[in-house]
């Protein structure tokens, strides 16, 4: 019994060695539960965490965990939608809140998944890297005894000396950029069967690519996290002719990451010289914007030289780590307010907010100080303003085109106390009418007038006048700083190249054995083994054999020797890890 099975077992072991270490994938952790106390448990846990199976499960969890954030409104994207959702689902919302479903990507459980995944990844990369370095320093495994059982095999008989054939094979494989070594007798403990073959391996770049890819993932994660912690994002609305300098107080609103400090703001300043928008003038998409561009004069640093540039949608201005984006635009009518004596008490361009895609706009003009009414008392003035950039007769409530084709400004004047001194922050776009009185016209109704550029509205009873001088445009700029994006990009590029070489390069081994046959004629045997089954391995082996065959031409076969023939009842040896 033992006598008949032993050689087979030996062969199988032999073949297993031939296919071993074709990759550095971790061997599956044994499911045995540890009995060694804390350290044993820790080691067991670590081995589980860094196994392929757990990595796979964590990846699956990551995909699953990302789903709810795409279906439930997220605070990071749209606070108002979250508020609407909370109003609409009073029972569900608190549960969602508890589960962190309104900020999935920052939630504890989502972070736990990806942190575990990356710990697993590091725990996987480090040993794999060492193992790979080890593989690079050792030699390809020696030829298995029975090359016939490998996935690709060929043989012929030749008159050339075995030594010559092996040398030719070695030269050929080296020329083909294989790492090739002849195995001398001493190498394998004097076993004569192994000393007669050349062993070669190629495609190490596959492993390099794979490691680069996984390391690049870590680089990207760190860069992204870094960016989140140190990022800043501010908005500033600027009317044509006005400027901005990059300081915290310069912004209308400002958000930043946890570790951001105001010293991190890149010093620069700019002035908006001109904003221009063009729109489709006809057809079904009349009014659809075609281009938006803002011409700026900017200076880097505190005392930089003035430079000119144009910022468009998709084309931010980049200064150091900061990027200046054009994010919105609108109109700012220039308003002059005079008191009863005709003295100018207010002259400014007042930005109005767009309400629809034809830039029907509304806002408020506030005259805070310097105004005295007809009785000489100090008062404040407020005007509810409503602008139609293109007024068409018959459509009093909305603009019919986004450009300034026929602008009409509707003003509703009020006087009294604007309430801005009460200490409560007030929107510049809203009028608190609680302490304001309407101006009445001669019929006793609320005064309201449509003005065209250049026209003036006279307030009743010598209260003064308002003139609509003309219209400027405003643009909103978002200034963002996200350090680490260069690293993220570098990581991304490395990931793609690593991935491509990991997926497209095949790691494979070739053995060439040449032995003197019983009749004195040399028998050449060649076999190939790839990491995975691939048509390329036999193809390449055929090419190599063809070349070698020219150098060691064949002689006719004798009667087939049953021992040297591939045996179909024994399937070929599998590559490591490819068995089902």
């Amino acid at each position: 019994m033992t006598k008949t099975t032993a050689p087979d077992e030996a062969t199988d072991q032999d073949l297993g060695t031939a296919g071993s270490q074709l990759s550095t994938a971790p061997v599956d952790a044994s499911p045995n539960l540890p009995v060694l106390g804390v350290i044993g448990w820790a080691r067991w846990f670590w081995r589980q965490l860094t196994s392929m199976r757990v990595a796979l499960l964590l990846l699956l969890l990551l995909a699953l965990g990302a789903i709810p954030g795409s279906l439930i409104p997220q605070t990071g994207q749209d606070e108002t939608k979250v508020a609407d959702f909370q109003k609409a689902h009073p029972t569900l919302a608190p549960i969602y809140e508890k589960l962190g479903l309104f900020h999935v990507y920052g939630s504890v459980w989502f972070s736990a998944i990806y942190i575990l995944l990356f710990v697993s990844l590091i725990g996987c990369i480090v040993p794999r890297t060492w193992q790979f370095v080890g593989q690079l320093r050792s030699r390809p495994p020696r030829a298995p005894k029975r090359l016939t059982r490998l996935p690709a095999y060929t043989t012929w008989r030749t008159e050339s000396e075995p030594e010559q054939v092996r040398e030719a094979a070695l030269a050929l494989l080296k020329k083909r950029r294989f790492r090739a070594l002849p195995h001398s007798l001493e190498d394998v403990g004097g076993a004569p069967i192994a000393g007669d073959a050349v062993a070669a391996e190629k495609g190490y770049l596959r492993e390099v690519g794979n490691l680069v890819f996984h390391i690049a993932l870590i680089v990207m994660l760190i860069a992204f996290a870094w960016g989140q912690l140190f990022k800043s994002e501010g908005n500033k609305l600027i009317v044509e002719g006005n400027g901005f300098s990059n300081t915290l107080i310069g912004y209308d609103d400002f958000k930043s990451g946890n570790l951001f400090s105001t010293d991190d703001l890149t010093p620069f300043s700019f002035t908006l010289n001109d904003f221009a928008g063009t729109y489709e003038v006809s057809g079904p998409n009349k009014g659809t914007p075609r281009t938006y561009q803002a011409s700026l004069t900017y200076a880097e640093g505190a005392y930089g030289k003035d430079k000119k540039t144009v910022v468009k949608v998709n084309h931010p201005l980049e200064i150091g780590d900061s990027k200046v984006y054009l994010t919105a635009h609108g109109y700012a009518p220039v308003i002059t307010v005079r008191d009863g004596k005709g003295d100018v008490v207010f002259r400014d361009a007042v930005p109005l907010l767009p309400l629809d895609s034809n830039v029907t706009s509304s806002g408020v003009v506030k005259v805070l100080d310097g105004y005295k009414n007809a009785k000489g008392e100090t008062e404040q003035l407020g005007f509810q303003a409503f602008l139609l950039p293109t007024y068409t007769v018959g459509n009093e409530v909305s603009s019919t085109f986004p450009a300034l084709l026929n602008p009409v400004l509707n003003l509703e004047p009020y006087h009294g106390d604007l309430g801005v001194n009460s200490g409560i922050p007030q929107s510049v776009y809203q009028l608190d009418k609680s302490h304001m009185k309407e101006f009445k016209d001669s019929k006793g109704e609320q005064m309201r007038e449509n003005l065209r550029p250049g026209e003036t509205m006279t307030l009743p009873n010598g209260a003064g006048s308002v003139t609509y001088e003309g219209t400027k445009e405003w643009a909103n700029f978002q200034v963002t700083e996200q350090p680490g994006s260069g690293w993220a990009l570098a990581g991304a590029i490395a990931a793609i190249f690593g991935l491509a070489s990991s997926l497209f390069i095949q790691r494979r081994r070739v053995w060439v054995r040449a032995t003197a046959g019983p009749d004195g004629v040399t028998v050449v045997e060649m076999a190939g083994l790839g990491r995975s089954e691939s048509a390329k391995v036999p193809e390449e082996l055929g090419d190599l054999a063809g070349i070698l065959y020219e150098q060691a031409p064949g002689v006719p076969d004798p009667a087939p020797d049953p021992d040297d023939v591939p045996d179909p009842t024994h399937p070929a040896v599998p590559a490591e890890g490819s068995e089902k």
């Binding site: 990759s23 599956d28 392929m52 199976r53 796979l56 990846l59 995909a63 990302a66 789903i67 954030g69 795409s70 279906l71 997220q74 990071g76 994207q77 990507y105 059982r149 996935p151 690709a152 060929t154 043989t155 012929w156 992204f224 998409n285 659809t288 075609r290 949608v313 998709n314 084309h315 994010t327 919105a328 635009h329 767009p354 978002q478 963002t480 994006s485 993220a488 991304a492 793609i496 491509a500 997926l503 089954e533 036999p538 055929g542 063809g546 065959y549 064949g554 076969d557 040297d564 023939v565 591939p566 045996d567 179909p568 399937p571 070929a572 040896v573 599998p574 590559a575 890890g577 089902k580």
Partner: protein, 378 residues
Amino acid sequence: MTLAAATDLAAATNENLASLSNTLIYSAMAVYTLAFFAYIAEWLLGSRSKVGRTAAALTATKARTQKAGAPAVTVKEGGSTAVLERPKVVVRAAAGSRDVPDGPGAHGGDEQGDLYGRIAISLTVLAFLVEFGGVLARALSVQRAPWGNMYEFNITFSTVAVGVYLTLLALKKNVRWLGLFLITTVLLDLGLAVTVLYTASDQLVPALHSYWLYIHVSTAILCGAVFYVGAVTTLLYLFKDSYENKLASGGTPGRFANSVLDRLPASASLDKFAYRVNAAVFPLWTFTIIAGAIWAGDAWGRYWGWDPKETWSFITWVAFACYLHARATAGWKGRKAAYLGLIGFGCWLFNYYGVNIFVSGKHSYADVGLGALQSVGF
């Protein structure tokens, strides 16, 4: 005056091109329909052959005892002297895989079936050219890449999918059997495009003026087309695999399964092909996401913001990473990995239809200011 006239002329040209495009798309649909019938004929005629190769092979493996011959040396006859060229390589399947030959394809070896199959492919080539013309005319009429809305995305997508199929055929890959499945979905895709999704031709809004858009969306479409080919193959792999399992365990599959599945390539070949296809586009999909992030960085000031579209691209990416991992993990190979591959394609599909229709995000945004103008097919 002259300027206005020129604008009118240009507008008229564009309208003409747009209607030409519509005509071509409808013509392509007609030709695809003919091709569809020819494929059906191929399958029907092919069912006349009742060889049962898979069953034969599976029983033969068990019974086979004689040994294969030694690798022969190919001999090229050169005049009077025989020139020995190169030794022949013997290839053997890895352990654990069944030694099942690939089926002959839809025609099942039937000559008439084969003829219809060839007719079907010729018609597919014709329809592809017509559809390509339609997409081109559409692009010229709007003077930009033809993927600014879902209608355009659909017509471009099906053109690319058929293009991928024809390219694989031209490269002499064994994919002819895919024809019927592909053309059926192409017809569905186009039907949806011309009925539900039709959008009159229009130019792009400023937010979409970026060359990253061209790169990002064109690779997204190509990836989708290739993922689709991978998904169909994976699905057929699952059927064929159960069929072979049933035969190997001595069961008798139904007549329909016998007739259809027997003509497909062996499950191992299907599996390998699906893997190749998915693995080949995975780096491109990675690139697509990165290109999208760069575009988002330029357009919105952040390269990643977990917008639904971004999120689903990411989910799709992770799903395919799972698939690739599963194939290298013991206990997950084969059918389990195949399910992951199908899930990956499902994610891609949802990212296109589901997110565009059910979920609103920045990619189909309605907001004041410039935001109002960012609506995009992908």
